[in-house]
Structure formats: structure tokens, C-alpha cells
């Protein structure tokens, strides 16, 4: 076997770029001590020495775009906050990660919570906020423990606290006070929608608000509020520390920087892969061992279940905002759920649709009623009780939800319907002509291909 030391352009070392995940393998990665050993809070010190508007300009020029799905420029969101208005300003971090398939913020907060805290200190300086909130979904208690601990450490170190204490501890005169409140949600997908999140944080049912006014003008307690995703804010310290040119050296002109890609499903090595925006699924699969042995990719989501499905023909689509958009989907949360040929697409779409029906907040009719009837039709199809005109009815209902519901949950519910009908209409028809689902669910389980024998033939 030849031993080669050269790295070709397809090697993982060249293609990946761990920044947020760079030291997750260190013991006690989540502690302030470990974070400080890895340039932790250096970006904060630089930011606090700058004028707030200069921090906003830097993040804007770096081109950081929201990592929670929509891809809105983070710096621009900050710039929308009116200044000198005499009202308190708030930063709210959306850590309600619940989009099916999405699993990046939770491991990030579990292994490296201080990157978020540092980003929040910088963002609060930029938008002149003295109170920030982390809205964490409630169902992840291990992460909540580490956020409690990280915030405690940050108070102790003087990154947070009263004006006097921060100024004294950080050796910088004139710092305002800053508090962070960790808030655990109570189980509602809709609270990932930013205005529903604000209602929930105000102690109400989490239902979306009419916009305008946008949160930047009237957000939490009707005050100017920035709502950012965890990964967006956690990416800010590295930009401050290493500069916008460094950030722009990764990714593309319109989608610069690094991001976490979450590979899951029927792949040989599911997990987190942090790299520059614009990497392709083929590259990620090639470097990580591909699909599970003996199987082919059938369909995948680029960014969670609300982003239209893609197929094998899209393996070379650059996974950035423009690339995935041009392929007819959305980058979303970069949750790459990969399903192989053993998976029934009707079953998959039915389950997602049941999810949307369950999570619909009930505020608007198209989403509340539409998702209910989609579930009825899909269950009939799976059970072999469907009719050919049901397929048109599915598309029609999805069309009456998409763009006509109050918030993006409705659009998300329509995505898997439209895209699966587009690429797999034949499979829907087979469910009708064949009198039911032609797939054996046992074959798609993770243990389906395990050898019956315990003898593995290890060449010792």
C-alpha cells in the first residue's frame, strides 16, 4: 500500500473547515477554560473596543447570512434596530431547533456553548442591548444544563453582569450592564417561527404575529428586537477575531463563510460536517463513506423537511443559498436527511405531514384545515384506499396552503407534497394501482442489513 502525504483537492482536510466544531473532541470542551484556550472571547474584546456601528458594518461586510433557514443577512438585521429611540433593545436567540432533520444547534450548544455566549455579548454591543434571551426548546435537558453553567461562568468572568462589574473585570471603561436569561420552551415546533417565539417568550400561546411591524421595530414587549439563530450568532466571534477577508475566503460571493452540515439517514457515517458553504452532497458522501453499503440514494432534504425534496440528480448542487435555490429547493438548516431505495416516499411524506398537522398552531385556516385533510388523503394512499384523483387533490390542497397561510409553517407543509409528487408521482400511483404500500418497512431500518451470524470474520 502506498503511503501518500499529499492532500488532493478532494480530501476531507481540504474540503472541511471546522471552526465552531474545531475543539469539540477536547475533554471538557464546553467549559470556559477550554474555550479560552481556543481563542475564546478574543473576538469579544476586539468588538467591545470598536464602535457598535463598526461592528454591524463588519458583520455586514463579512456577508454572514442567517443559519436558521431563511438566510437573511445578519448584519442587516442588526442595522434595522432604530437607535436613540429611548426604548430597551433586546436580542433573542432562537435555540428552538425542531425542524425535522435539523440537528446542528443542539450538538453545538452541548459541546461549545460559550461560542454562543460570546456572540451574544458582541451582538448586544452592536445593537445596544442590555438584556438578551436564549429560547431553548425544552426537550433537551443536557443542553440546558450546559447553558446554565456557561452563563454562570460568563457572569463570574465579568462578560455579563452590572455595568460596574463588567467594566472592572474586563478593564474597559463605560461598558453597560448585560444580562442573559436562559429560557426553556415547552414543546411547540411553531415557536421556532420568530414572532411565535416572541409571543411564547412573553408567556402566551406560541402563535405567529402579523408583520409588519417586524420584530426590529416592535418585537419583545413591543420593543426593537433582533431574533437570530444559534449558529448565526455563534459564528460572529470568529469573524471578529479573524476578520471579514478570512470569512469571505470560504464559500461564495453571495454565500460566504463556513457552516455545519448535518448528515443523517441511510449513510455510512451520519454526523456533523463543518465546511465552507457550497460543498456538494456528493463531496460529503464521498469523504464520509457514502450511503450504507449496497444501497443507493433515493431522495434527500437539503435543509429539513420544510425544504423541497431533492434526488440523486441533485448530488452536485452546491449547498449554498443560491445553489439550492436554483435547484428548486432551499438551503434551510443544512439538514441533509438521506434516504435509500428501501424507503417509501409516501410513508415519509405522510409522517412529515402528520407532524405539520400536529404542530399547526390553529391560527389560520389554510394551514389548520389543509394539513388535516392532507393527512387523511395520505393515510388512505398508504393503506391502499386512495384514488387517482386524490393525487390532484393533494396538489390542490398544498397549493391552497402554500403562500396563503399566516406563517412559513404552512409553506413548509406544502414542500414535501409538491416535491414528492414532482419526482415520485409513479410511486404514488403504484400505491393506488397495487392496492397499498409496496415497501417493506423492515428493510429500511438501521439494523436491516446486519448479518444474521455473529461471526464477523475479523482477520486478527
Amino acid at each position: 500500500m502506498t503511503v501518500t502525504t499529499e492532500l488532493n483537492e478532494h480530501s476531507p482536510e481540504k474540503l472541511l473547515a471546522p471552526v465552531l466544531s474545531a475543539f469539540w473532541d477536547q475533554p471538557n470542551a464546553w467549559t470556559l477554560r477550554t474555550y479560552l484556550r481556543h481563542e475564546g472571547y478574543d473576538g469579544m474584546r476586539k468588538a467591545l473596543a470598536m464602535a457598535p456601528d463598526d461592528v454591524i458594518a463588519l458583520v455586514k461586510d463579512a456577508g454572514l447570512r442567517g443559519r436558521g433557514g431563511a438566510g437573511f443577512p445578519t448584519g442587516m438585521k442588526w442595522q434595522f434596530i432604530p437607535q436613540g429611540d429611548g426604548k430597551p433593545h433586546y436580542l433573542v436567540v432562537n435555540a428552538d431547533e425542531s425542524e425535522p432533520g435539523t440537528c446542528k444547534d443542539i450538538p453545538l450548544l452541548y459541546a461549545n456553548p460559550h461560542s454562543l455566549i460570546e456572540g451574544m455579548v458582541i451582538a448586544c454591543h452592536a445593537i445596544r442591548s442590555e438584556h438578551a434571551f436564549i429560547y431553548l426548546r425544552g426537550e433537551v435537558v443536557p443542553v440546558l444544563r450546559r447553558l446554565h453553567e456557561a452563563v454562570r461562568e460568563a457572569y463570574e468572568a465579568g462578560y455579563l453582569g452590572t455595568a460596574e462589574r463588567r467594566s472592572q473585570k474586563l478593564g474597559m471603561a463605560g461598558l453597560p450592564g448585560l444580562d442573559i436569561t436562559v429560557h426553556a420552551g415547552a414543546g411547540a415546533y411553531i415557536c421556532g417561527e420568530e414572532t411565535a417565539l416572541l409571543d411564547s417568550l412573553e408567556g402566551r400561546r406560541g402563535q405567529p404575529r402579523l408583520r409588519p411591524p417586524f420584530p426590529a421595530v416592535a418585537g419583545l414587549y413591543a420593543c426593537p428586537t433582533v431574533v437570530n439563530n444559534v449558529e448565526s450568532i455563534a459564528s460572529v466571534p470568529a469573524i471578529l477575531n479573524k476578520g471579514k477577508e478570512w470569512f469571505r475566503s470560504m464559500g461564495s460571493e453571495k454565500s460566504p463563510g463556513f457552516t455545519l452540515y448535518s448528515l443523517s439517514g441511510h449513510v455510512a457515517n451520519p454526523g456533523q460536517y463543518e465546511g465552507p458553504l457550497g460543498i456538494t452532497l456528493r463531496q460529503l458522501l464521498d469523504m464520509s463513506g457514502g450511503m450504507r453499503p449496497g444501497h443507493r440514494l433515493k431522495f434527500w432534504t437539503p435543509g429539513g423537511s420544510s425544504t423541497p425534496l431533492l434526488t440523486e440528480e441533485h448530488l452536485d448542487v452546491p449547498l449554498d443559498y443560491e445553489g439550492v435555490g436554483a435547484a428548486g429547493s432551499m438551503l434551510g438548516t443544512k439538514a441533509l436527511q438521506c434516504f435509500d431505495e428501501t424507503t417509501c416516499v409516501v410513508r415519509a411524506v405522510t409522517r412529515w405531514t402528520e407532524f405539520y398537522a400536529h404542530e399547526s398552531c390553529g391560527k389560520c385556516t389554510p394551514c389548520r384545515e389543509g394539513t388535516y385533510w392532507l393527512v387523511q388523503l395520505l393515510r388512505d394512499l398508504e393503506a391502499g384506499k386512495g384514488r387517482m384523483d386524490d393525487l390532484d387533490k393533494l396538489a390542490d390542497i398544498a397549493d391552497n396552503i402554500n403562500g396563503k397561510s399566516f406563517c412559513a409553517l404552512g409553506d413548509g407543509a406544502a414542500s414535501p407534497i409538491f416535491s414528492s409528487l414532482k419526482y415520485f408521482r409513479e410511486e404514488y400511483e403504484q400505491h393506488i394501482t397495487g392496492g397499498g404500500c409496496p415497501f417493506d418497512p423492515a428493510r429500511s431500518t438501521v439494523w436491516a442489513d446486519e448479518p444474521r451470524s455473529t461471526h464477523l470474520g475479523v482477520n486478527a
Binding site: M1, R145, R152, H183, A186, A268, G289, Q337, R351
Partner: protein, 276 residues
């Protein structure tokens, strides 16, 4: 449904005993102080009353309404919106099987079906001994560890039908159960108190479970020229000595090369199906 009240309104819920009330009021003051507006404390306070009684009772609703100056109707409207608030007595351990699409396909459906049969309960029901409440849950942001089971909102990753059955048997028998990520299990009530914003008081709880699960590290390992799990170190990293701990055991560097990381399309090692 079948109870006809004949126009008689339900009587107000009883209050907590004075000692409990005083203790919860002190906690509530601490929670309320975290927010510029007291109503924001409602979700944490509902977690708090759940930590007292295991579910949100009418007494708990009354307490929240009184300390926040809301009506019980306003509080009930919020309770009924969120799935984490239980409205009936439930078990010490809430076992949630993810049956959203990805986990379901990967085996979550099979696990959930088998657990229902094994425990002789349906979705949302509790075993006779009051230990385990079984339910199916939605995506819990751990898809790279599918299929996932949560117990009292701690992660049990990469489950199988057998491992999940063992898990619930251990819970019912009172044997110690360790999550794959997270702290040793506490009861549902204790978990609810953490959710109310009171840090876990147990020594070692924050550290437990390590920094990151194996799937969280797979990209980082590749980027450093190390192996992915179950695969072999590529020879590239042999240059500079690294102060990182070895990927697995000390002699993994000369383990048989089953698949060259540089050519994942062409596995070179024994293929079980054909080799048998």
C-alpha cells in the same frame, strides 16, 4: 364527555398547603426576577408546578395565575398549547420514542410498536407500577444518532428494539440507567425543576456524558485526517505529532485497513455478505 354538570360550575381549585405555597412563592419570585415583564415567567412557572406534582394540576394553574396576576383561563390557554405540560398523573420516567420520518424509517416505528406491546400500554399511557409513561415524540434534533429514544429528556442514541426493551425493563426494576449523552437520570419532577431554570444541583451532572457524541465528531475527525468511526486512519496524519488523544485504542494505527479513506467508493476489506 359523559359527565353532565347540570349547570353547576366547577369549584375553584384548592390551594397548595401553606408550607408548599411559601416554598413555591420564593421560587416564583426568583423566576419572575429574570424577566422585564412578569408574564414571561409563565412557561417556567408551569415547569415549576410540574416539578411539584408531576403534572400541571388545577391547583398549579391557580398558583401561576395568582402569582402573575392572570386569570386561570389565561393560564389554562397556555398549558393546553404546549405538549410538555402533562395534564394527568404520569410515570416517574417519560419514555419518548422519536417517530418523526427519519427516526421512524430507521427503526423508531418498530421500537415504538414493540414497546407498546412489551409494556402493555398505548401512546401517552403509564405502566401499572407508575414507573414508565410511553409516548411517541417529534424530532428531537439528534437525527445523526437515529433511532433516538428520550427518557425524561435525556438522550438515548442509536437505539434498537432490544436495547429499548432493556432500557424500560431497567427503569421499571429501579436499575441505574445511563444516557448516551446527558446526566444520570433523575425523576420527571426533578427534570421539570431544571426546566424551570434552576440548575441541576447534583455534582458531576454538567460534565456527565462527555463533550460530544461520536456522530458530532465525525466531520472534525475527517478534517484532521483521522478516521471516521468504524473506519481506518488514513496515513496522511503521520506527519507532525499530534497532542490529540488517539482515535481509539493505542494500536489502531496498524489495524487492518478495511476501507481506504481516500477511496471510499472501493472498499478493500472483507465484505461480510460475500465472505460468509
Amino acid at each position: 364527555m359523559s359527565d353532565v354538570t347540570l349547570g353547576m360550575p366547577q369549584l375553584p381549585a384548592p390551594d397548595y398547603p401553606a408550607e408548599v405555597r411559601a416554598r413555591l412563592e420564593a421560587d416564583a419570585r426568583e423566576v419572575i426576577a429574570r424577566y422585564p415583564d412578569s408574564r414571561s415567567a409563565l412557561l417556567p412557572l408551569l415547569h415549576l408546578v410540574q416539578s411539584e406534582e408531576g403534572h400541571v394540576t388545577r391547583t398549579g394553574v391557580r398558583f401561576c395565575a395568582e402569582v402573575l396576576d392572570l386569570t386561570t383561563a389565561e393560564v389554562t390557554a397556555v398549558v393546553t398549547f404546549y405538549t410538555m405540560y402533562r395534564r394527568k398523573p404520569s410515570g416517574d420516567y417519560q419514555v419518548g420514542v422519536c417517530t418523526n420520518t427519519l427516526c421512524a424509517v430507521m427503526g423508531g416505528d418498530a421500537i415504538f410498536e414493540e414497546l407498546q406491546r412489551h409494556l402493555e400500554v398505548g401512546n401517552g399511557e403509564t405502566t401499572e407500577d407508575g414507573k414508565v409513561t410511553l409516548e411517541h415524540i417529534e424530532c428531537n434534533a439528534a437525527c445523526d444518532f437515529a433511532p433516538v429514544v428520550m427518557v425524561n429528556w435525556e438522550f438515548f442514541d442509536n437505539q434498537t428494539v432490544d436495547s429499548a426493551k432493556r432500557l424500560v425493563d431497567d427503569l421499571r426494576a429501579g436499575r441505574t440507567v445511563e444516557p448516551t449523552r446527558g446526566a444520570p437520570l433523575c425523576t420527571y419532577k426533578e427534570t421539570a425543576r431544571i426546566l424551570a431554570g434552576f440548575p441541576d444541583p447534583r455534582p458531576g451532572a454538567v460534565e456527565a456524558g462527555g463533550a460530544a457524541g461520536p456522530a458530532s465528531l465525525v466531520g472534525l475527525r475527517l478534517a484532521k485526517g483521522e478516521s471516521a468511526p468504524g473506519r481506518v486512519v488514513s496515513p496522511r496524519s503521520s506527519g507532525a505529532p499530534s497532542d490529540e488523544p488517539p482515535a481509539s485504542h493505542p494500536s489502531s494505527h496498524d489495524a487492518p485497513q478495511r476501507t481506504s479513506a481516500s477511496d471510499p467508493q472501493h472498499p478493500s476489506g472483507p465484505v461480510t455478505e460475500e465472505g460468509e
